[in-house]
Protein backbone atom coordinates (compact mmCIF):
# COMPACT_ATOMS: atom_id res chain seq x y z
CA UNK A 1 0.00 0.00 0.00
CA UNK A 2 1.38 3.40 -0.94
CA UNK A 3 1.53 6.15 1.65
CA UNK A 4 1.62 9.74 0.43
CA UNK A 5 0.31 11.88 3.27
CA UNK A 6 2.42 14.45 5.08
CA UNK A 7 0.56 13.56 8.34
CA UNK A 8 0.14 17.21 9.22
CA UNK A 9 -3.57 17.65 8.75
CA UNK A 10 -5.65 18.25 11.85
CA UNK A 11 -8.65 16.16 12.79
CA UNK A 12 -10.95 19.12 13.22
CA UNK A 13 -12.92 18.39 10.06
CA UNK A 14 -13.94 14.97 11.38
CA UNK A 15 -13.66 11.51 9.94
CA UNK A 16 -15.70 9.71 7.31
CA UNK A 17 -18.19 7.02 8.33
CA UNK A 18 -15.78 4.38 7.01
CA UNK A 19 -12.99 5.83 9.11
CA UNK A 20 -15.25 5.93 12.16
CA UNK A 21 -16.10 2.26 11.63
CA UNK A 22 -12.44 1.43 11.39
CA UNK A 23 -11.50 3.36 14.52
CA UNK A 24 -14.27 1.61 16.41
CA UNK A 25 -13.03 -1.76 15.18
CA UNK A 26 -9.50 -0.79 16.16
CA UNK A 27 -10.58 0.11 19.70
CA UNK A 28 -12.52 -3.13 20.00
CA UNK A 29 -9.44 -5.04 18.83
CA UNK A 30 -7.17 -3.33 21.34
CA UNK A 31 -9.64 -4.06 24.14
CA UNK A 32 -10.35 -7.65 23.13
CA UNK A 33 -7.16 -8.73 21.37
CA UNK A 34 -4.32 -6.63 22.74
CA UNK A 35 -1.78 -9.10 21.25
CA UNK A 36 -2.52 -7.78 17.76
CA UNK A 37 -1.81 -4.18 18.68
CA UNK A 38 1.13 -3.57 16.34
CA UNK A 39 -0.66 -4.92 13.31
CA UNK A 40 -3.83 -2.97 14.14
CA UNK A 41 -1.81 0.21 14.59
CA UNK A 42 -0.21 -0.23 11.21
CA UNK A 43 -3.62 -0.65 9.58
CA UNK A 44 -4.92 2.40 11.41
CA UNK A 45 -1.99 4.42 10.12
CA UNK A 46 -2.73 3.34 6.56
CA UNK A 47 -6.44 4.15 6.90
CA UNK A 48 -5.54 7.60 8.20
CA UNK A 49 -3.37 8.12 5.13
CA UNK A 50 -6.19 7.24 2.80
CA UNK A 51 -8.74 9.33 4.69
CA UNK A 52 -6.55 12.39 5.24
CA UNK A 53 -6.81 12.06 9.01
CA UNK A 54 -3.87 13.15 11.16
CA UNK A 55 -2.59 9.82 12.49
CA UNK A 56 -0.38 11.29 15.20
CA UNK A 57 -3.20 13.37 16.65
CA UNK A 58 -5.61 10.44 16.49
CA UNK A 59 -3.04 8.16 18.08
CA UNK A 60 -2.53 10.69 20.90
CA UNK A 61 -6.29 10.85 21.52
CA UNK A 62 -6.56 7.06 21.44
CA UNK A 63 -3.67 6.69 23.88
CA UNK A 64 -5.50 9.03 26.27
CA UNK A 65 -8.64 6.96 25.80
CA UNK A 66 -6.90 3.70 26.68
CA UNK A 67 -5.15 5.26 29.67
CA UNK A 68 -8.48 6.59 30.92
CA UNK A 69 -10.06 3.19 30.35
CA UNK A 70 -7.36 1.60 32.49
CA UNK A 71 -7.96 4.16 35.24
CA UNK A 72 -11.72 3.68 34.97
CA UNK A 73 -11.45 -0.10 35.30
CA UNK A 74 -9.75 0.38 38.67
CA UNK A 75 -12.52 2.58 40.08
CA UNK A 76 -15.70 2.27 38.00
CA UNK A 77 -16.70 5.78 39.02
CA UNK A 78 -19.29 7.68 37.05
CA UNK A 79 -17.11 10.73 36.71
CA UNK A 80 -14.38 8.75 34.94
CA UNK A 81 -17.01 7.02 32.81
CA UNK A 82 -18.10 10.47 31.59
CA UNK A 83 -14.52 11.45 30.83
CA UNK A 84 -14.15 8.22 28.91
CA UNK A 85 -17.28 8.99 26.85
CA UNK A 86 -15.96 12.46 26.13
CA UNK A 87 -12.54 11.17 25.16
CA UNK A 88 -14.19 8.60 22.89
CA UNK A 89 -15.79 11.49 20.98
CA UNK A 90 -12.33 12.97 20.45
CA UNK A 91 -11.54 9.62 18.80
CA UNK A 92 -14.62 9.79 16.54
CA UNK A 93 -16.51 7.19 18.59
CA UNK A 94 -20.03 8.47 19.16
CA UNK A 95 -22.28 7.50 22.08
CA UNK A 96 -23.96 4.72 20.13
CA UNK A 97 -20.66 3.04 19.26
CA UNK A 98 -19.30 3.72 22.72
CA UNK A 99 -22.18 1.71 24.17
CA UNK A 100 -21.23 -1.18 21.87
CA UNK A 101 -17.78 -1.34 23.45
CA UNK A 102 -19.50 -2.97 26.43
CA UNK A 103 -17.45 -1.20 29.02
CA UNK A 104 -18.75 -2.10 32.46
CA UNK A 105 -21.12 0.64 33.71
CA UNK A 106 -20.20 2.89 36.61
CA UNK A 107 -20.97 1.40 40.00
CA UNK A 108 -22.96 4.31 41.41
CA UNK A 109 -25.22 6.99 40.07
CA UNK A 110 -25.20 10.76 40.28
CA UNK A 111 -26.22 13.41 39.40
CA UNK A 112 -29.93 13.40 39.98
CA UNK A 113 -32.63 15.80 38.88
CA UNK A 114 -33.96 17.17 42.13
CA UNK A 115 -34.08 20.72 43.45
CA UNK A 116 -33.06 24.17 42.33
CA UNK A 117 -30.63 26.57 43.91
CA UNK A 118 -31.61 28.87 46.71
CA UNK A 119 -33.33 26.18 48.71
CA UNK A 120 -32.88 25.16 52.30
CA UNK A 121 -31.32 22.10 53.76
CA UNK A 122 -32.30 18.63 52.53
CA UNK A 123 -31.88 15.39 54.43
CA UNK A 124 -31.60 13.49 51.14
CA UNK A 125 -27.99 14.46 50.85
CA UNK A 126 -25.87 11.44 51.67
CA UNK A 127 -22.43 12.69 50.74
CA UNK A 128 -19.77 14.43 52.74
CA UNK A 129 -16.47 16.20 52.41
CA UNK A 130 -14.66 12.88 52.53
CA UNK A 131 -16.04 11.58 49.26
CA UNK A 132 -13.63 11.12 46.41
CA UNK A 133 -14.45 11.68 42.77
CA UNK A 134 -17.44 14.00 42.73
CA UNK A 135 -17.33 17.02 40.46
CA UNK A 136 -20.20 19.32 41.41
CA UNK A 137 -21.81 21.00 38.38
CA UNK A 138 -19.80 18.96 35.90
CA UNK A 139 -22.80 19.04 33.56
CA UNK A 140 -22.32 22.81 33.24
CA UNK A 141 -19.11 22.17 31.32
CA UNK A 142 -20.31 19.07 29.49
CA UNK A 143 -18.95 16.49 31.92
Amino acid sequence: MSINSDFKKTNSSGASITMQHYIFAFVQDVINQPDNLKRSEQWLKEYCEKENVNYFELNRQLSSFFELLEAYRKTNTLVLYRFLQLQAQACFIDEERFALLRIQPANYEFPRITADMGTSCSDKNTITSSHNGGLVGGHLIGL
Partner: protein, 284 residues
Protein backbone atom coordinates in the same frame (compact mmCIF):
# COMPACT_ATOMS: atom_id res chain seq x y z
CA UNK B 1 -33.07 45.93 39.70
CA UNK B 2 -29.33 45.45 39.88
CA UNK B 3 -28.13 44.22 43.26
CA UNK B 4 -25.12 45.79 44.98
CA UNK B 5 -21.91 43.82 44.70
CA UNK B 6 -20.74 41.50 47.48
CA UNK B 7 -17.01 41.30 48.12
CA UNK B 8 -15.48 37.85 48.14
CA UNK B 9 -12.08 36.42 49.01
CA UNK B 10 -9.92 33.49 48.02
CA UNK B 11 -7.37 31.95 50.37
CA UNK B 12 -4.14 30.24 49.38
CA UNK B 13 -2.52 29.12 52.62
CA UNK B 14 0.61 27.10 51.90
CA UNK B 15 1.63 26.42 55.50
CA UNK B 16 -0.11 23.02 55.70
CA UNK B 17 2.03 21.87 52.75
CA UNK B 18 5.31 23.60 53.56
CA UNK B 19 5.20 22.64 57.27
CA UNK B 20 5.43 19.02 56.17
CA UNK B 21 8.55 19.90 54.19
CA UNK B 22 6.86 19.75 50.82
CA UNK B 23 7.00 22.28 48.02
CA UNK B 24 3.71 24.09 47.35
CA UNK B 25 2.32 23.77 43.86
CA UNK B 26 -0.95 23.60 41.94
CA UNK B 27 -1.50 21.79 38.67
CA UNK B 28 -2.70 23.63 35.56
CA UNK B 29 -6.29 22.46 35.94
CA UNK B 30 -6.43 23.75 39.51
CA UNK B 31 -4.88 27.07 38.45
CA UNK B 32 -7.30 27.41 35.57
CA UNK B 33 -10.23 26.76 37.93
CA UNK B 34 -8.95 29.43 40.32
CA UNK B 35 -8.59 31.91 37.44
CA UNK B 36 -12.14 31.25 36.22
CA UNK B 37 -13.43 31.43 39.80
CA UNK B 38 -11.96 34.91 40.31
CA UNK B 39 -12.99 36.22 36.89
CA UNK B 40 -16.55 34.91 37.10
CA UNK B 41 -17.06 36.39 40.57
CA UNK B 42 -15.88 39.75 39.27
CA UNK B 43 -18.08 39.47 36.20
CA UNK B 44 -21.30 38.70 38.07
CA UNK B 45 -21.07 39.40 41.77
CA UNK B 46 -18.39 41.84 42.94
CA UNK B 47 -14.74 42.28 43.72
CA UNK B 48 -12.47 39.54 44.98
CA UNK B 49 -9.35 39.60 47.10
CA UNK B 50 -6.67 36.99 47.77
CA UNK B 51 -5.23 36.18 51.19
CA UNK B 52 -2.00 34.23 50.92
CA UNK B 53 1.44 33.95 52.50
CA UNK B 54 4.93 34.51 51.11
CA UNK B 55 5.24 31.09 49.52
CA UNK B 56 1.75 31.40 48.03
CA UNK B 57 2.55 34.83 46.67
CA UNK B 58 5.79 33.56 45.15
CA UNK B 59 3.79 30.87 43.39
CA UNK B 60 1.20 33.39 42.15
CA UNK B 61 3.94 35.66 40.84
CA UNK B 62 5.72 32.77 39.16
CA UNK B 63 2.51 32.05 37.23
CA UNK B 64 2.06 35.77 36.46
CA UNK B 65 -1.34 35.84 38.19
CA UNK B 66 -0.83 38.83 40.51
CA UNK B 67 -3.37 40.97 38.63
CA UNK B 68 -6.14 38.39 38.86
CA UNK B 69 -7.75 39.67 42.06
CA UNK B 70 -9.24 43.15 41.61
CA UNK B 71 -9.50 43.53 45.40
CA UNK B 72 -5.75 43.03 45.76
CA UNK B 73 -3.55 40.48 47.51
CA UNK B 74 -2.89 40.41 51.25
CA UNK B 75 0.26 38.52 52.25
CA UNK B 76 0.69 39.99 55.73
CA UNK B 77 -2.23 38.44 57.57
CA UNK B 78 -1.43 34.78 56.97
CA UNK B 79 2.33 35.22 56.94
CA UNK B 80 2.43 36.96 60.31
CA UNK B 81 -0.37 35.12 62.06
CA UNK B 82 0.85 33.33 65.20
CA UNK B 83 -2.28 31.55 66.37
CA UNK B 84 -1.42 28.26 68.14
CA UNK B 85 -2.94 26.13 65.38
CA UNK B 86 -1.40 22.99 63.90
CA UNK B 87 -1.58 23.63 60.12
CA UNK B 88 -1.40 19.93 59.26
CA UNK B 89 -4.43 19.06 61.38
CA UNK B 90 -6.31 22.27 60.64
CA UNK B 91 -5.29 22.68 57.02
CA UNK B 92 -8.14 25.06 56.19
CA UNK B 93 -7.61 27.32 59.21
CA UNK B 94 -6.14 29.93 56.87
CA UNK B 95 -9.65 30.47 55.50
CA UNK B 96 -10.99 31.14 58.99
CA UNK B 97 -8.12 33.51 59.82
CA UNK B 98 -8.92 35.45 56.65
CA UNK B 99 -12.63 35.40 57.40
CA UNK B 100 -11.89 36.95 60.77
CA UNK B 101 -10.11 39.87 59.10
CA UNK B 102 -12.69 40.41 56.38
CA UNK B 103 -15.53 42.89 56.90
CA UNK B 104 -19.14 41.65 56.67
CA UNK B 105 -21.06 41.01 54.54
CA UNK B 106 -18.64 38.89 52.59
CA UNK B 107 -18.27 35.66 50.70
CA UNK B 108 -15.54 33.13 51.43
CA UNK B 109 -14.97 31.38 48.12
CA UNK B 110 -12.78 28.32 47.66
CA UNK B 111 -10.34 28.56 44.77
CA UNK B 112 -11.85 25.37 43.31
CA UNK B 113 -15.37 26.74 43.18
CA UNK B 114 -16.86 28.73 40.28
CA UNK B 115 -20.08 30.70 40.60
CA UNK B 116 -21.37 31.04 37.07
CA UNK B 117 -24.28 33.46 37.57
CA UNK B 118 -25.26 36.57 39.55
CA UNK B 119 -26.42 35.39 42.98
CA UNK B 120 -26.59 38.57 45.08
CA UNK B 121 -30.39 38.37 45.03
CA UNK B 122 -30.17 34.96 46.71
CA UNK B 123 -27.67 36.09 49.33
CA UNK B 124 -29.07 39.46 50.37
CA UNK B 125 -32.20 38.16 52.14
CA UNK B 126 -30.18 35.61 54.13
CA UNK B 127 -28.01 35.82 57.23
CA UNK B 128 -25.85 32.84 56.33
CA UNK B 129 -25.58 30.99 53.02
CA UNK B 130 -23.33 27.97 52.55
CA UNK B 131 -22.88 25.69 49.55
CA UNK B 132 -24.92 22.69 50.69
CA UNK B 133 -25.54 20.59 53.75
CA UNK B 134 -23.63 17.39 54.39
CA UNK B 135 -24.71 14.08 55.82
CA UNK B 136 -23.56 13.21 59.35
CA UNK B 137 -21.46 10.25 58.27
CA UNK B 138 -19.86 9.05 61.50
CA UNK B 139 -16.48 8.22 59.94
CA UNK B 140 -16.12 11.86 58.82
CA UNK B 141 -18.10 13.74 61.44
CA UNK B 142 -16.93 11.97 64.58
CA UNK B 143 -19.02 11.91 67.74
CA UNK B 144 -17.80 14.41 70.35
CA UNK B 145 -16.22 11.68 72.43
CA UNK B 146 -13.85 10.73 69.56
CA UNK B 147 -12.76 14.23 68.58
CA UNK B 148 -9.31 15.27 69.82
CA UNK B 149 -9.61 18.20 72.17
CA UNK B 150 -7.18 20.67 73.71
CA UNK B 151 -6.35 20.29 77.36
CA UNK B 152 -9.16 21.52 79.64
CA UNK B 153 -11.61 21.86 76.74
CA UNK B 154 -15.23 20.80 76.95
CA UNK B 155 -18.12 21.16 74.54
CA UNK B 156 -21.03 23.32 75.70
CA UNK B 157 -24.06 21.30 76.82
CA UNK B 158 -26.35 23.08 74.41
CA UNK B 159 -24.50 22.11 71.22
CA UNK B 160 -27.01 20.40 68.92
CA UNK B 161 -25.05 17.44 67.56
CA UNK B 162 -27.89 16.47 65.24
CA UNK B 163 -27.55 19.61 63.13
CA UNK B 164 -26.30 18.80 59.64
CA UNK B 165 -22.88 20.25 58.80
CA UNK B 166 -22.54 22.82 56.01
CA UNK B 167 -20.09 22.65 53.15
CA UNK B 168 -18.18 25.92 53.34
CA UNK B 169 -16.52 25.93 49.93
CA UNK B 170 -18.92 28.82 49.54
CA UNK B 171 -19.90 30.82 52.63
CA UNK B 172 -21.76 34.10 52.86
CA UNK B 173 -22.05 35.75 56.28
CA UNK B 174 -24.00 38.97 56.60
CA UNK B 175 -23.33 40.00 60.21
CA UNK B 176 -20.17 40.47 62.18
CA UNK B 177 -21.82 39.26 65.40
CA UNK B 178 -22.45 35.76 64.06
CA UNK B 179 -19.07 35.63 62.35
CA UNK B 180 -17.31 36.45 65.63
CA UNK B 181 -19.33 33.90 67.57
CA UNK B 182 -18.60 31.14 65.05
CA UNK B 183 -14.91 31.96 64.75
CA UNK B 184 -14.45 32.19 68.53
CA UNK B 185 -15.96 28.73 68.95
CA UNK B 186 -13.78 27.40 66.16
CA UNK B 187 -10.60 28.96 67.59
CA UNK B 188 -11.42 27.62 71.05
CA UNK B 189 -11.40 24.14 69.53
CA UNK B 190 -8.38 24.57 67.25
CA UNK B 191 -6.02 26.47 69.56
CA UNK B 192 -3.39 24.22 71.20
CA UNK B 193 -5.26 21.17 69.85
CA UNK B 194 -2.10 19.39 68.69
CA UNK B 195 -2.81 15.65 69.06
CA UNK B 196 -2.61 14.14 65.59
CA UNK B 197 -5.66 12.14 64.51
CA UNK B 198 -5.27 8.96 62.44
CA UNK B 199 -6.70 10.83 59.44
CA UNK B 200 -6.62 14.50 58.55
CA UNK B 201 -10.26 15.19 57.77
CA UNK B 202 -12.37 14.85 60.91
CA UNK B 203 -10.80 17.56 63.07
CA UNK B 204 -10.87 20.18 60.31
CA UNK B 205 -14.40 19.50 59.08
CA UNK B 206 -15.63 19.72 62.65
CA UNK B 207 -13.91 23.07 63.27
CA UNK B 208 -15.04 24.60 60.01
CA UNK B 209 -18.19 22.90 58.71
CA UNK B 210 -19.99 21.24 61.59
CA UNK B 211 -19.34 24.09 64.01
CA UNK B 212 -20.81 26.58 61.55
CA UNK B 213 -24.14 24.75 61.64
CA UNK B 214 -23.99 24.16 65.41
CA UNK B 215 -23.26 27.85 66.02
CA UNK B 216 -26.10 28.96 63.74
CA UNK B 217 -28.45 26.59 65.52
CA UNK B 218 -27.28 27.88 68.89
CA UNK B 219 -28.09 31.44 67.81
CA UNK B 220 -31.43 30.36 66.28
CA UNK B 221 -30.29 31.36 62.82
CA UNK B 222 -31.15 29.35 59.74
CA UNK B 223 -28.55 28.55 57.10
CA UNK B 224 -29.56 28.81 53.47
CA UNK B 225 -27.88 26.68 50.85
CA UNK B 226 -27.04 27.40 47.23
CA UNK B 227 -27.66 23.75 46.43
CA UNK B 228 -30.06 21.36 48.09
CA UNK B 229 -28.30 18.50 46.33
CA UNK B 230 -24.79 19.06 44.98
CA UNK B 231 -25.21 16.56 42.16
CA UNK B 232 -28.56 17.82 40.94
CA UNK B 233 -28.76 18.53 37.22
CA UNK B 234 -30.88 21.56 38.17
CA UNK B 235 -27.76 23.24 39.51
CA UNK B 236 -27.14 26.05 37.06
CA UNK B 237 -24.77 28.20 39.05
CA UNK B 238 -21.96 26.28 40.76
CA UNK B 239 -18.99 24.21 39.63
CA UNK B 240 -16.97 22.74 42.50
CA UNK B 241 -13.99 20.44 42.09
CA UNK B 242 -14.50 19.03 45.60
CA UNK B 243 -13.21 15.44 45.84
CA UNK B 244 -12.54 15.47 42.10
CA UNK B 245 -9.29 17.31 42.89
CA UNK B 246 -7.73 13.99 43.87
CA UNK B 247 -8.51 12.52 40.47
CA UNK B 248 -7.18 15.63 38.70
CA UNK B 249 -3.90 15.30 40.57
CA UNK B 250 -3.55 11.64 39.65
CA UNK B 251 -4.52 11.62 35.99
CA UNK B 252 -3.04 13.84 33.31
CA UNK B 253 -5.68 12.84 30.74
CA UNK B 254 -8.45 13.87 33.10
CA UNK B 255 -6.69 17.21 33.65
CA UNK B 256 -6.48 17.81 29.91
CA UNK B 257 -10.14 16.96 29.21
CA UNK B 258 -11.39 18.95 32.19
CA UNK B 259 -9.30 22.00 31.19
CA UNK B 260 -10.49 21.82 27.61
CA UNK B 261 -14.12 21.76 28.73
CA UNK B 262 -13.54 24.67 31.11
CA UNK B 263 -11.90 26.74 28.37
CA UNK B 264 -14.71 25.97 25.94
CA UNK B 265 -17.32 27.08 28.47
CA UNK B 266 -15.55 30.16 29.80
CA UNK B 267 -13.50 31.15 26.76
CA UNK B 268 -15.10 34.57 26.56
CA UNK B 269 -14.30 35.63 30.11
CA UNK B 270 -10.86 34.01 29.93
CA UNK B 271 -9.92 35.70 26.68
CA UNK B 272 -10.22 39.06 28.42
CA UNK B 273 -7.41 37.92 30.69
CA UNK B 274 -4.21 37.86 28.60
CA UNK B 275 -2.27 35.53 30.87
CA UNK B 276 -4.70 32.76 30.07
CA UNK B 277 -3.09 32.22 26.65
CA UNK B 278 -0.60 29.51 27.77
CA UNK B 279 -3.50 27.37 29.04
CA UNK B 280 -5.48 27.90 25.85
CA UNK B 281 -2.50 26.85 23.76
CA UNK B 282 -1.93 23.77 25.86
CA UNK B 283 -5.46 22.43 25.95
CA UNK B 284 -7.32 23.65 22.86
Amino acid sequence: MQQPAIPAFHVLWTKPVTTGGKHFSMNNAEILTMVVSALMWQKHNGSIKLYTDKAGYAFIRSRKLSALWDGGIDTELLENNNYPIDPEIFWAAGKLIALEAQACPCVMLDTDLIVTLPIQHLLKPTTITALHSEALQPEVYLPPSLLKKPSGFSFPDDYNWNTLPSNTAFLYIRDKSFKSFYLNESKRFMFRNMEKPTEMVSQMVFAEQRLLSICADRQHLSINYLLSDPFSLSNSSVIHLWGFKHLLRQNENVRAIYSKQLIEKFGEVLSAYPLFIPYDEKYM
